[in-house]
């Protein structure tokens, strides 16, 4: 029986908090499992550095992901090359796995438009900052794939808060009605800024909302990367090759915790207890997977040290490259508004160029 066919209140787990298998370990090679660990560590290390860059004034407001690496990497791992990803604004780890260079992610949060330019070979949308709006795009994209007879699945990420928006309902409802190849992946990290999950919905779980849309909803331990992988993989396969009587879409609720702030502009100590944070840290996905990989002989001290050193280098290099990126030319803001620049925008660009020529940066930059 598929892992998706379970009560939405029965949470799927593969590893317990100590990394002991308590469920069926998915069929991944040793290399894949180690890569999964490496990418989770990379996401964590990147996150730590990014927060520190913001603190030092080297980057703008940034939304940290720490605690959510298992859900991000585990789910991204389950996609096939041809599948598509529609992120919210916190999926730096999932994006990295999909192939978005770290430098682009850094540039985006450093205020460069180039950070939003996804390389052509990466099947992924730019981040969506407005809440839950991307869910409809993901449904439409999946619908297009189906109409075009392309066997591709579309995963869409959003948070627990996002499930309160009308767009969540509309996106899942369309997916149910038109039977689109979607995987709706809810990163339930318990807090929408300061508002707890219980205040978003009176439902016992978010997963059970799928029942009303006519497709499967599964709750998974979002800090268990192997459980996340197993559920997402099953959902991707069903989206592309549904069995007799099966509906293509799936809602996955990945139960997890945001260890840090909503963004660097937020102070979580105002609204939640440090005891709660400590309790959730016991479920930290990274030591959990590491323990499992050590216990099964796939990792040892030497390999772990090598991975850490390599990752730290990789992140340092990306930061160096992003900071070396010259500030975009101001005239860039007039480009890509339309395929062809309108006469009015052309006139405004010319007027700007004249002023810029005359005053230089001093005429514009504020302290």
């Amino acid at each position: 029986m598929s892992v998706l066919q379970r009560d939405p209140q029965d949470m799927l787990r593969v590893l317990d908090e100590d990394g002991e298998p308590v469920g069926e370990v998915p069929d991944l090679s040793d290399d894949e499992l180690v890569t999964m660990y490496r990418e989770m560590y990379l996401a964590r290390h990147f996150d730590t550095r990014a927060v520190s860059l913001q603190r030092q004034g080297r980057m703008g407001t940034y939304p940290p992901l720490s605690g959510q690496e298992g859900a991000q990497i585990g789910s991204a791992f389950a996609l096939d090359e041809e599948d598509w990803m529609f992120p919210s604004y916190r999926e730096h780890g999932a994006a990295l796995h999909r192939g978005l260079p770290l430098k682009r992610t850094l540039l985006y949060w450093m205020g460069h438009e180039k950070g939003n330019q996804i390389p052509d070979h990466v099947n992924m949308f730019p981040v969506a900052v407005p809440i839950a709006t991307q869910i409809l795009h993901a449904t439409g994209a999946a619908w297009a794939k189906k109409l075009q007879d392309k066997n591709e699945a579309v995963i869409c990420y959003f948070g627990d808060g996002g499930t309160s928006e009308g767009d969540f309902h509309e996106g899942l409802n369309f997916a149910g009605v038109f039977d689109t190849p979607n995987v709706f992946f809810c990163n339930n990290n318990q807090w929408a800024i300061s508002v707890p999950r219980e205040r978003q919905t009176a439902s016992a779980t978010i997963a059970q909302k799928a029942v009303a849309y006519g497709f499967e909803g599964v709750q998974v331990d979002g800090m268990d990367p192997l459980a996340v992988y197993a559920a997402t993989r099953a959902a991707v396969e069903k989206a592309k090759n549904p069995g007799e009587g099966e509906r293509r879409p799936t809602l996955i609720e990945a139960v997890q915790y945001r260890f840090g702030a909503h963004t660097t502009a937020d102070d979580p100590t105002v609204y939640r207890d440090s005891d709660e944070v400590e309790q959730w840290k016991k479920k930290d996905p990274i030591p959990r997977l590491e323990r499992f990989l050590r216990d099964t002989g796939r990792l040892d001290d030497e390999k772990v040290d090598a991975i850490h050193a390599e990752v730290e280098d990789q992140v340092a290099t990306a930061i160096k490259e992003a900071e070396a990126e010259p500030r975009p030319e101001p005239e860039e803001m007039f480009n890509n508004v339309f395929a062809e620049m309108t006469p009015e925008i052309r006139a405004q660009a010319d007027e700007f160029a004249e002023l810029y020529e005359k005053h230089g940066d001093e005429g514009f930059l504020r302290e």
Binding site: Y108, D167, M333, Q348
Partner: protein, 331 residues
């Protein structure tokens, strides 16, 4: 003004909070609702301490749904309450747009006065704080274009409190846009207790004789700075702060223009179909024969608000405002 004449020295965002506090104390029909307005005190701390003071039923953390906030606030307003809904950023207000324009703005009219909507929708707007994407737009023209909505944009702590109190007491829906760039940029004297600044009245911030410059919100400060600089060159600039962009105080706009015969408008919103166009048309209609030069529009460009690496080039700077004013004066 009430008996209390004590003043406090507050920032603009503290004046928002003080206005809410004052009205909540005076009128138990007033409730504050929105995302993170409760225990967290608002992401900008505009509702700080209100939840402790007034509790969960009057300072309400809602689910994350702007249409839900605006729509339920309309329902509350029709049933005798005075909701003040917070939209966390004006850039996230669009899911609520349908509720605001199709219902809040029209309820009185379409029910022939049977139902009314004494509702305030507060939202921080505007750029300049190195914020992420969708956090910096200035789209007051959307709401100005809609009949049945009043649109208020204060620029000082004193006006903020007085205008917010007026907005809460107003029998009709008011969109109250707060210039977050200057939330904490300076302090001003704010009386304790309640007082009103009437909606629909502009304020002449600086008197001058050569040109009238119309502005509002966060652009008031660079405009005043430009006026000071130009004064040294012998150009005498009058600065009119609209304070309410809808209904606009045409009388003050026209009176100032008749005195100077020249005008510029400064706003960070995009130029096309922005408030500058409305002010220019008003001058054409009411004071054409006084006009000595084309009206200069110093505005944001007709492009999506750029990510923050380029935002200073997008926002009207002091130098750009000076250039625009000079062009109008030297025409």
């Amino acid at each position: 003004m009430s008996q209390s004449q004590q003043t406090q020295n507050l920032t603009l965002v503290q004046a928002v909070r003080d206005g809410l506090y004052t009205e909540m104390q005076a009128d138990d029909r007033v409730v504050v609702m929105g995302e993170d307005v409760g225990k967290n005190g608002g992401v900008f701390r505009a509702t700080e301490g209100l939840w402790d003071e007034f509790g969960d039923d009057r300072v309400i953390d809602t689910p994350l749904a702007e249409s839900g906030i605006a729509g339920t606030a309309i329902g509350m307003a029709t049933m005798g309450m005075r909701p003040v809904a917070e939209m966390q950023f004006s850039g996230f207000m669009y899911p609520a747009f349908d509720q605001i324009v199709s219902h809040a703005a029209r309820l009185r009219n379409r029910s022939r006065g049977r139902f009314t909507c004494p509702l305030v929708v507060r939202a921080p707007y505007g750029g300049g704080i190195r914020a992420p994407e969708h956090h910096s737009e200035s789209k007051e023209a959307f709401y100005t274009h809609e009949s049945g909505l009043k649109v208020v944009i204060p620029s000082t702590p004193y006006d903020t409190k007085g205008l917010l109190i007026s907005a809460i007491r107003d029998p009709d829906p008011v969109i109250f846009l707060e210039p977050k760039l200057i939330y904490r940029a300076f302090r001003g004297d704010v009386p304790e207790g309640d007082y009103e600044i009437p909606i629909g009245e502009a304020s002449v911030r600086r008197e001058g004789t050569d040109i009238s410059v119309y502005t509002y919100g966060a652009m008031t400060r660079p405009t005043l700075d430009a006026a000071e600089n130009l004064d040294e060159e012998g150009i005498s600039v009058e600065v009119v702060d609209l304070r309410t962009v809808s209904p606009m105080d045409k009388e003050t706009v026209v009176e100032s223009f008749k005195k100077t015969g020249r005008a510029a408008v400064v706003h960070e919103a995009p130029k096309t179909a922005g408030l500058g166009a409305e002010i220019t048309a008003t001058i054409q209609e009411e004071a054409l024969l006084y006009q000595e030069a084309p009206v200069e529009r110093i505005a944001g460009y007709d492009v999506p608000y750029p990510l923050y690496a380029l935002e200073d080039y997008y926002l009207p700077s002091v130098a750009r405002v000076e250039e625009g004013i000079r062009d109008a004066v030297e025409f």
